[in-house]
């Protein structure tokens, strides 16, 4: 990952080429730090997706049919007849220019589809930009999703080596850090067991541990911290802070504004593929939140605006006491009246399993802005991130032919940060976080548990 056919080893060569081949002469002055030592410098990055071509896959038949029709279409076009519908083109990124200094930790925020992941994909060279260029100085590493490249039949040990190689580590390097990786993941007893026997939490920890020990010059993190239990997330955040303290550059994409606030000095807010704001984190987040609340941020659905927690059990998006009642408030903006409709709320885990769900019907609301408060008596789930799903139907529900007004996965996630009281081992802790006590009594009668234990040890 350090080198490529596109390398300009001497930076002078790079500069000369850049001067010669500037793709965007009109690009605005890049948003950047005053520091001269740059880790990333992007100029006019753009990425176009032709939606006609990103269908899951094409069939050869269609291409043959197109080829056969091509002459006919050509004739029609020259006669002035309307051609087939224009190709749907989406610009995932447009004219994105910025500079990131060496050792900076930069947050990237924006609603879904604003180009955050595309930007990371371009910087990690997974995909090419359609135009523009980025200069990247140093080894780039990405934190991968759970178990990308983990093979279920291989043991943990074997997967560490394969996964490390995929991330661009040399075998020597992996061998040197192996014990540290395994200890960080906390899977020592199972390291020679095939990972198909691991829980998803264990796989995640191992995958993160490999990536965290990659020691890249530039670390790209895309939402991976949204999964796993909170304790592990804290360790990951700590690791990322270590990474930045060691003078490495981090780009963190997250919906968790709290995480961004804690880790990042500067934040880039992407909106519709363009940089809306790139500046001090406090300012960028404040403006982003203001825009989201004002509804200025054109969400794909127009109805659900944002959500928050109310009550003493939690605030913002973090629930700190899962045994007490709390309120989930959803802010909606209705363009039309809703009569005899349905409002549904669900709590989903990272695999989209519904752990709790509630339906409220029939409901009627006039058009305009509303706060819909769902008062939940308790949510005794394991401390983790969960997704909230909201749905609003008009005239019925999903089964009775109601019109779906909008279905929305709440942004950001719901963070449940109550102390864990279940089994200390992740794979035995289950889904619920419910306390339990042990009492023993002898079936033989008379002898108390303490005595029985003493008798056995005697």
């Amino acid at each position: 990952m350090r080198t490529s056919s596109e390398i300009d080893v001497a930076s002078a060569a790079g500069r000369a080429e850049q001067a010669a081949g500037a793709t965007h002469p009109t690009a605005p002055r890049p948003h950047g730090p005053a520091s001269a030592s740059l880790a990333v410098r992007a100029e006019g990055l753009a990425k176009r997706y032709d939606l006609g071509r990103i269908e899951p896959y094409g069939a050869l038949r269609d291409s043959i049919a197109r080829a056969v029709r091509a002459p006919v279409a050509l004739i029609r076009r020259t006669r002035g007849a309307p051609s087939d519908a224009p190709a749907r083109v989406v610009w995932a990124l447009r004219d994105v220019s910025f500079e990131i200094g060496h050792g900076e930790v930069v947050g990237v925020i924006g609603r879904n589809g604003s180009g955050k992941s595309t930007l990371l994909k371009i910087l990690s060279r997974v995909t090419e930009p359609t135009s523009g260029r980025a200069e990247i100085r140093g080894r780039v590493g990405s934190l991968l999703e759970v178990g990308t490249g983990f093979h279920p039949e291989l043991t943990g040990r074997e997967n560490v080596f394969v996964n490390g190689a995929m991330l661009g580590m040399k075998r020597r390097e992996i061998r040197r850090k192996f014990d540290e990786i395994v200890a960080f993941a906390g899977v020592e007893p199972f390291i020679d067991t095939p990972v198909k026997h691991y829980s998803s939490g264990m796989q995640m920890r191992l995958a993160f541990a490999v990536a965290a020990h990659l020691e890249p010059d530039i670390l790209l993190v895309d939402e991976v911290l949204a999964v796993g239990d909170l304790e592990f997330q804290r360790r990951c955040l700590g690791k990322m802070q270590d990474v930045s303290r060691a003078g490495r550059t981090v780009l963190l994409v997250s919906h968790q504004l709290g995480q961004i606030r804690r880790l990042c000095a500067r934040t880039m807010w992407l909106d519709g593929g363009r940089i809306r704001r790139f500046g001090p984190t406090g300012d960028a987040i404040r403006e982003y939140e203001a825009a989201t609340i004002a509804g200025d941020d054109p969400a794909p659905g127009q109805c659900f605006v944002r959500w928050e927690l109310l009550g003493s059990a939690g605030s913002g998006h973090t629930l700190t006491d899962s045994r007490r009642p709390f309120t989930i408030r959803a802010h909606v903006r209705l363009a039309q009246d809703i009569s005899m409709g349905h409002f549904g709320v669900g709590v989903l885990d990272e695999d989209d399993r519904v752990l709790a769900g509630w339906a409220f019907e029939p409901i009627s609301l006039p058009c305009g802005r509303h706060a819909l408060d769902t008062i939940v008596e308790a949510l005794p789930l394991r401390p983790k991130n969960y997704r909230l799903s909201f749905a609003l139907f008009d005239r019925g529900n999903n089964l009775t032919g109601g019109r779906l007004v909008e279905k929305w996965i709440g942004v950001p996630h719901l963070t449940l940060d109550a102390p864990p009281v279940g089994h200390p081992q992740d794979e035995w802790a289950g889904v619920l976080n419910v306390a339990a006590r042990l009492e023993t009594s002898s079936a033989d009668g008379g002898v108390g548990p303490r005595l029985a234990a003493a008798a056995r040890s005697a």
Partner: protein, 280 residues
């Protein structure tokens, strides 16, 4: 060890690349540790939870040879250039199995590693190359049986056996040529998945595996050699068993066909590679 200063770190430039050209072999070489790891993973995983393990590499060509010997050799009385038919067939089945395996594996290699491709960067050319390496390992195992059979039938190779690496290379290149095309096409058109098994089946009978090239009329042989496996298989037989099926024109035509397929495949692969992550 990695804590180089930013000034000394390599600079990459990310930008749109040219549509036409060859993949960077230097880059493939730089990623050789990943290639090695993937080969090792494939070999390790393939025979996990199998009772026979690596013996499977022998079972397939061996039993195909038994079936061919029974039906084509004994019942069909196909000529075998005065050699024991089992030896005649097995010697051709070795390069054939290598070719068939690599074509099948290479063509699915990109799609099968979809998750990897959309998450990390590495030269995509590594994927079909891994298929080749795994195929060559299987070939090596199955080759041991051929040596035993030659001992059993008392056939000793002439000096021509030193040309064997050339024919092996030609077989691998032919498979890679087809595999590169199919792998890149497979990303766009999943029809390839259904086409490949059929293609390989038909290709087997279009190649001199069960029969010698001698049954093809001499005036057609040069044309016939456009199928690169003709040159490869007859080359193998010449090198190991001393048959006289391979002539210079046949070998040259087959080699030219391979070269065209490989260069074309590399260019097409490179061209499509740029959008693999968007399409797959």
């Amino acid at each position: 060890m990695r804590s180089r200063s930013a000034e000394s770190a390599a600079l990459h430039v990310v930008r749109p690349t040219a549509a036409w050209g060859l993949p960077s072999f230097r880059e493939v070489w730089q990623f050789r540790e990943l290639a090695y790891c993937l080969v090792w993973r494939e070999i390790k995983v393939r025979y996990k939870q199998t009772a026979l393990g690596a013996a499977w590499a022998v079972v397939q060509p061996f039993f195909t040879m038994v079936v061919f010997s029974t039906f084509f050799g004994r019942l069909g009385r196909l000529p075998s250039e005065n050699l024991p038919y089992p030896l005649f067939a097995y010697c051709a089945l070795l390069p054939w199995q290598l070719f068939a395996f690599v074509v099948a594996e290479a063509s699915s290699s990109v799609v099968a590693n979809q998750r990897l491709i959309t998450k990390v960067y590495f030269p995509r050319l590594i994927l079909p190359i891994v298929a080749v390496a795994v195929g060559v390992v299987d070939f090596g195992i199955a080759f041991a049986i051929l040596v035993l059979m030659m001992g059993y039938y008392g056939v000793s190779p002439s000096l021509a056996m030193w040309t064997l690496p050339v024919w092996l290379l030609l077989a691998v290149a032919a498979a890679l040529g087809a595999g590169l095309w199919l792998a890149a096409l497979n990303v766009r058109y999943r029809d390839v998945r259904y086409t490949v098994p059929l293609l390989i089946q038909l290709w087997l009978f279009a190649s001199p595996v069960a029969y010698p090239i001698a049954i093809v009329p001499p005036s057609w042989r040069t044309l016939y050699a456009l199928n690169p496996m003709v040159g490869v298989i007859e080359g193998f037989r010449w090198a190991l068993l001393g048959t006289r099926g391979v002539s210079l024109p046949v070998a040259a035509v087959s080699a030219a066909a391979v070269a065209a397929a490989v260069v074309g495949g590399l260019v097409y692969f490179r061209r499509t590679e740029r959008v693999f992550a968007d399409l797959v």
